[in-house]
């Protein structure tokens, strides 16, 4: 592993940053396992060295500081930053951004990666600025946070972009070796629209006074403070001079192998509603428990195309992520080790044990992914409720967060992935108001719904509010229908149903519209070891009447909204799954009977063979 890390350690020490976008050109390398000590001069957004002793010293710019040696623009094309790029390959569907607005009953999956079932932010009228304000708390910068200058100038919020600046990639979000970088503080700065200042404050290099969101559109950072309205003075930094050496350089404690806790700020998933004791005894991913870090498998080269770990076998992802096939479950556990074929006695990368799977027919590997049996929580007859960092803002301290907060994310769901294999998934039912034209639904943003149908929206008395009643839905649809210049029929999507108004003004409910389908994405972690995987209890972990993987409900309650059973979700024949379950009830009897049969026949065969042999030897008449 270390050899692998060393092979990709590239530390650009050259000042020739202009050539850094060409692979291998203009980059100095250490090619050492020892990390390069980053004692750096900070540069501001104009490329000028920062003197922290000066009043009004500007924030540091990762683009200008880190980009002195590292190819910032090339890195900006990597997985964590390239979502808005139309040429970026989206790969397998992942967790979308969920635009949640309880007051309008909205849970809208968003993604710029072209994942089926998720809407591109621009398609629903969400500007980059609005996107960053909603989700910037968990954006590492770049992408939506750093549209090019022309786009920022052309944006409706051009004046605000000018005040706040771009939300550049904050390298320390991932690469901070210790917890001196505070992503939660960074999220607070994003909320205050202090985009340009966020990296500096999160790194603990300075504290900030003032907020960009309170500064006027024509804010001039050079202008003296407005004594009458000090809150409109905009952000100003107070640097911690103790962090600077006599040459005004700062020691950045960086790593290429960040601890999992860094990743967890954005990638935490927690089950809610569990008893305290159960939470206390909750397991960890077996790989982390074994001492691996996330980046041991989710690696990247200089271009920061992170290996997502599902072993993409098709172009262009295969070419894009060279290590994709090798750094997957199969790659480590079934691959080769130094050219030697793995087997029960030869471990794979990181000492990954070769899976025995004794007694498991190989057919299962064609029909199911590894994660179906090994990932996520042990399934029950009903799915369980989860919260994620991206959807519920985990990682940010709050006294307001409750287990029942929307959106409702369910797991484990056993659906089919894009390759047709059964996999463990998470699921969310989209809910949104929209306009239906033909078969295409264009969602409306909650602000638009409030503007057009505010009076008809249900008054939120409870928190979280209950789903709107049929009468409330009809009232809002009628209000949306009356809106001037509205193109398309007003509809509401919830729990797999499409609501619309009939010719008589009554509510018409349609099931099965593609725009109402549940959004599902694969569960990768936490991985359970073999001793805790499905099947450890035998075939009847899955092949029995009542097995959660087949007969479980994709809802928290059997009678809950959209409570499909897993086999229904996969479109399987109910008679077939029941016949399979019934068939396996007789399997122990069959085994005994078949062994008896083949045992008797074997004895007969042996006896006959012995007779024949004796006859051949002339010892039998």
């Amino acid at each position: 592993m270390r050899r692998g890390v060393a092979s990709v350690v590239v530390l650009g020490l050259a000042a020739a940053c202009c050539a850094a976008d060409e692979p291998g050109t203009g980059l100095l390398r250490t090619d050492s396992l020892a990390p390069y000590v980053h004692r750096l001069t900070l540069y501001d957004h104009d490329g000028a060295a920062i003197d922290p002793t000066q009043d009004d010293a500007p924030p540091y710019s990762p683009r200008m500081t880190c980009g002195k040696c590292h190819p910032y623009d090339r890195i900006a094309g990597g997985w964590h930053f390239n979502e808005p790029r139309p040429d970026a390959f989206g790969g397998r569907s992942g967790e979308p951004w969920l635009l949640t607005d309880p007051a309008t009953g909205t849970v809208l999956p968003l993604s710029g990666r072209g994942w089926p079932g998720a809407f591109a932010p621009e398609a629903v009228g969400l500007s980059e600025w609005q996107f960053v304000l909603r989700f910037g708390r968990h954006l590492p910068g770049g992408g939506y946070g750093e549209p090019d200058g022309e786009r920022r100038r052309a944006a409706p919020e051009a004046a605000r972009w000018r005040v706040s600046g771009a939300l550049e990639i904050d390298c320390l979000v991932c690469h901070a070796a210790a917890m001196h970088h505070d992503p939660a503080e960074r999220a607070r700065q994003v909320e205050a629209q202090n985009f340009r200042w966020a990296a500096t404050v999160a790194a603990g290099l300075a504290v900030v006074r003032g907020e960009a969101r309170k500064a006027p559109d024509d804010w001039d950072p050079e202008a003296p403070p407005d004594l009458d309205r000090p809150d409109r003075s905009g952000p100003r930094l107070v640097y911690d001079r103790a962090r600077f050496d006599p040459d005004q350089r700062v020691l950045f404690d960086l790593t290429r192998r960040p601890p999992a806790e860094r990743c967890y700020f954005c990638h935490t998933v927690r089950e809610v509603g569990v008893e305290e004791e159960r939470e206390l005894r909750a397991g960890r991913d077996v790989h982390l428990a074994a001492g691996l870090a996330c980046t041991d498998c989710h690696r990247n080269e200089l271009d920061h195309h992170i290996v997502r770990g599902y072993g993409a076998a098709a172009a262009p992802e295969r070419e894009l992520l060279g290590g994709n096939a090798a750094l997957s479950c199969e790659g480590c556990h079934l691959g080769t080790s130094g050219g030697a074929a793995l087997g029960p006695d030869v471990a794979g990368m990181h000492g990954a044990p070769y899976p025995q799977h004794r007694g498991l027919p190989p057919l299962h590997f064609e029909k199911m992914t590894c994660t179906a049996c090994h990932s996520g929580p042990w399934p029950d007859m009903t799915a369980r409720r989860f919260q994620t960092a991206l959807a519920h803002g985990l990682g940010l301290a709050s006294r307001e967060r409750r287990d029942t907060d929307p959106p409702l994310i369910l797991a484990p769901i056993f659906g089919r992935g894009a390759d047709g294999r059964i996999e463990a998934q998470r699921m969310v039912w989209p809910a949104y108001w929209g306009r239906l034209e033909g078969e295409r639904i264009t969602p409306l943003l909650p602000e638009t719904v409030r503007k057009l149908a505010g009076a008809a929206l249900p008054r939120v008395a409870k928190d979280p509010p209950p789903p709107p009643t049929d009468e409330q839905i009809a009232a809002v649809l009628a209000a949306l229908g009356r809106a001037e210049g509205a193109a398309g029929e007003a509809v509401y999507i919830r729990d797999g149903r499409l609501y619309r108004l009939g010719a008589d003004g009554g509510l018409v409910v349609t099931h099965g519209h593609p725009g109402a389908a549940a959004y599902r994405w694969a569960v990768g972690h936490d991985v359970r070891p073999a001793s805790q995987s499905l099947g450890i209890g035998g075939c009847t972990d899955c092949h029995v009447d009542g097995a959660p993987i087949v007969f479980g409900y994709a809802a928290t309650q059997p009678a809950g909204p959209g409570a499909l059973r897993m086999f229904e979700l996969r479109g399987e024949d109910p008679r077939l799954v029941e016949a399979w379950a019934a068939g396996f009830a007789w399997r122990p009897v069959f085994k005994v009977f078949a062994f008896a049969c083949v045992g008797v026949m074997t004895l007969v065969l042996l006896h006959g063979g012995l007779d024949g042999l004796l006859a051949l030897l002339g010892r039998r008449p």
Partner: protein, 167 residues
């Protein structure tokens, strides 16, 4: 050679014995009800297993879903019918009797060996013994033995029919 011993419960009709080695007894031996049942179950079992198991080669697609379930259920029929039939014919296969020349006796033992070779791999695969690679090998053995069995069934059937017509 002496005559075949006939226990009271033997399913072999009395008309089939006594018989001399290479004798020219030409009495037609009718099958008992049990033999009919056993043969029918065995034939259905072999037929179901052959059609479902080799369906992919016959253009029926991958072995999955209903066809796989039928294959698993057919395994019970096959095990019962095949074992019963083999045991019924065992006394005659061990000694030459009228209508059971060396060709049919040889075929009996070959079919029995193939049947055993078909069953053992999949039964072993059901136990938590064989890992993935071994499972794949067992499946290959199962398929090869099954193909052998099906191929042997052709001369076995022809020989049986010829013997019946001669009687």
């Amino acid at each position: 050679m002496s005559s075949v011993p006939q226990p009271a419960s033997s399913p072999i009709p009395a008309t089939a014995a006594p018989a001399a080695v290479g004798g020219a007894a030409r009495e037609r031996r009718s099958l008992s009800a049990w033999e009919h049942v056993a043969h029918t179950v065995a034939l259905v079992g072999v037929g179901v297993q052959a059609v479902t198991g080799f369906g992919e080669g016959l253009g029926l697609g991958e072995l999955e879903g209903w066809r796989l379930l039928a294959h698993l259920c057919g395994a019970g029929l096959f095990a019962a019918g095949f074992t019963a039939t083999m045991l019924l014919w065992l006394p005659r296969a061990r000694r030459a009797v009228p209508g059971m020349g060396w060709v049919r006796r040889t075929l009996y033992w070959l079919v029995l060996a193939a049947g055993v070779a078909v069953m053992w791999p999949m039964l072993l695969a059901m136990l938590p013994l064989a890992g993935t690679a071994a499972q794949e090998e067992l499946v290959e053995w199962h398929e090869a033995a099954a193909l052998t069995l099906v191929v042997l069934m052709v001369p076995h059937t022809v020989a049986s029919l010829v013997a019946r017509l001669r009687c």
